[in-house]
Amino acid sequence: MNRTSVCALALCSIGAIGAIVAFAAPSGAASKGPAAGKTVHVGVIADVTGGAGVYGTPQKNAYELANDDIKAGRIDAGGANLTFDVQDAASDGAQVVNLMQKFMTDGSTPLVLGPTLSGEAFKAFPIAARASFPVMGTSTTAEGVTAIGPSVFRDSLAESQVIPTTVKRTHDKWHYKTAAVIFGDDNAFTKTDGDIFTRELKAAGVDVVDTETFHIKDTDFQPALTRIESKHPDVIAIGALFPEATKIIQQAGKLGIKAHMIGGNGLNAPDMYSVAGPSAQGTVVGAAWYSGAKYPSNLAFVKSYTAKYGKGPDQFAAQSYAAAQIVADLVAHGATTKDEMLSGLRNVRVIQTVLGPIGFDPNRDVKSSPVILSIVKDGFTYFH
């Protein structure tokens, strides 16, 4: 081995050791901020059980992971004892309201995160808004949620932010002329999807040749898809959550439908391909988060979540974890009361999260860019 090789090897070794040390040490060892030593309990309302349990459970998991990461110094809360207290709303609107009132009046909760569904937010957020109590939705993407009041924020990209980009990008590439829209008309999220898809497709000069609706928990979409197929659309826009979306895609494949399929945040789940099958290949999904995004905190989040729960996180988990990162940042800067939290949220500039760098716009919606993905075998890839 010559002298140059030895030097190169030594440099590589030092670099490798440095990398290992950097990886092994807490990535952001807790700083000593103005709130150091104080206890801060943040309320979380999530549908851990009931019909929406499939969405609320990853949210709960994300907050539990965040609690671990704060203790371990991987999320910097400025030395404060910050914890997220997850309460199960059981997919029951009345329980959501009760929990919101409980958190608002217990004297120790400065901020509430959640609930899980937009429809629940429309029930609970007005109560918080009337009391100027800060709340942040992490999965409430329907139109009008933040318009409820000046103390209502959300870190989830609204469908109104995601779908226009999805339509534009796919239209630019495929130059389609006709489309059909299928959406759930009994859920605020999927209804919003249907409305925005219809509006944006028409704005792009696309002829919407058919509109079909369904109800959440429906399983048989063949009658609607048969009708859609009879109109021969170039594209089918899907306004659905994961359980219905997978069945729509699967059954469309069974009926031999060849139209391109596009959808919103509801289709951004790691199991899309494995559940919907080969018919899902090429479906385009506009979303707020990509599990494969290379942000350092996202890589660590996906890895630790998968290790802890035995399966990868979905977008519900990612947006909840990002909310925990935002709150930790506020606390690290000294916010411990509801007024300080509200002020902190209003003055957020940019915070690095698993969703990437995000902030809030003047309407208190998250300021971030959607990602346009394409379903491929075993996951997603960027749509180009």
């Binding site: 459970t57 048989d220 494995s274």
Partner: protein
């Protein structure tokens, strides 16, 4: 398109009918609504999922899960209905009792399986090429499900008409006291009724899970209300009525969508039911048809 839609309605109606037959059988014999029927439908689908995941061939997993559904039905009767029957608790109290059992079954399933949707490993049946027959397309899974559902209903009809057990069930349905005086063992006959009804409900759950390759905790809730509508439409207690009611509801749902009225689907379905009931308040096959089966 119409042929395909009629076929869609036929496949949908077969599973509705199978579920409703079990529902109406218990009502015909005991005059009570068993609102835990949908919970057993769900539980059986999870059992089949577990068996299939453990490597049990699908036909055996189907039969095993239906049998477990039947056993759950017997347990349901022993826990929720028999004690109330002995105390002459009327018809409303057992109804509430069955809701309680349904909630407990749901909680147990959530504890065992979690909230995530489960998917069958169907040995490639679900990815087999679709069958194109003239203007219609269907899969091997759909065909199998349809045949299985119809076969089970035919077997039930034969059991009720041509076997000793069937005669006992019909005797108890006609007059419980008279049947007991004639030597029919009431409790055993009722247990057998629950076994048959719940195994049919369980079979419907497994077939639904297979048809959409999806087993979820709330898969029973959409069919629960429809099942109730079907047995009222067919005539409370009428097995024939439940079968025909199932196919009618399946067809009306499908054809309302085919007509471009998807957002009115449920309103149309229940509207049709309302019109039929106004014309025939006791349902298509009247009251107590089971007793005359």
């Amino acid at each position: 398109m119409v042929a395909q839609q009629l076929l869609n309605g036929l496949f949908l109606g077969a599973v509705y009918a199978l579920f409703a037959v079990g529902y109406t059988l218990v009502f015909g014999v005991l005059d009570i609504l068993n609102l835990a029927h949908a919970a057993i439908f769900t539980a059986s689908a999870f059992v089949a999922f577990s068996l299939a995941a453990a490597g049990v061939p699908l036909p055996l997993a189907f039969l095993g899960a239906a049998a477990v559904g039947g056993i759950l039905g017997i347990l349901l009767d022993r826990v929720a209905f028999a004690p109330l029957r002995r105390r002459n608790a009327g018809t409303l109290v057992p109804l509430i009792s069955s809701i309680g059992v349904a909630i407990i079954i749901g909680a147990v399933l959530r504890g065992i399986y979690g909230v995530d949707e489960k998917h069958f490993t169907t040995g490639g049946l679900d990815t087999a090429p679709a069958i194109h027959l003239g203007p219609v397309t269907f899969t091997a899974v759909e065909l199998t499900i349809f045949v299985a559902a119809v076969a089970l209903m035919v077997v039930l009809s034969w059991v009720l008409r041509a076997t000793t057990l069937g005669r006992r069930i019909r005797a108890v349905a006609a007059d419980r006291i008279a049947a007991a005086l004639l030597g029919v063992d009431l409790e055993r006959t009722i247990a057998a009724t629950f076994f048959i009804a719940s195994s049919l409900g369980g079979a419907a759950g497994v077939l639904t899970g297979l048809e959409y390759n999806s087993v979820t905790l709330d898969m029973g809730s959409p069919i629960e209300l429809k099942g109730l509508a079907i047995i009222i439409l067919g005539g409370m207690g009428s097995v024939t009525g439940a079968v025909i009611g199932g196919f009618i509801i399946g067809a009306v749902e499908t054809l309302s969508i085919a007509a471009g009225l998807s957002e009115w689907r449920d309103a149309i379905t229940f509207g049709v039911m309302f019109v039929i009931l106004v014309a025939r308040p006791s349902g298509l096959f009247g009251k107590r048809a089971l007793r005359q089966a």
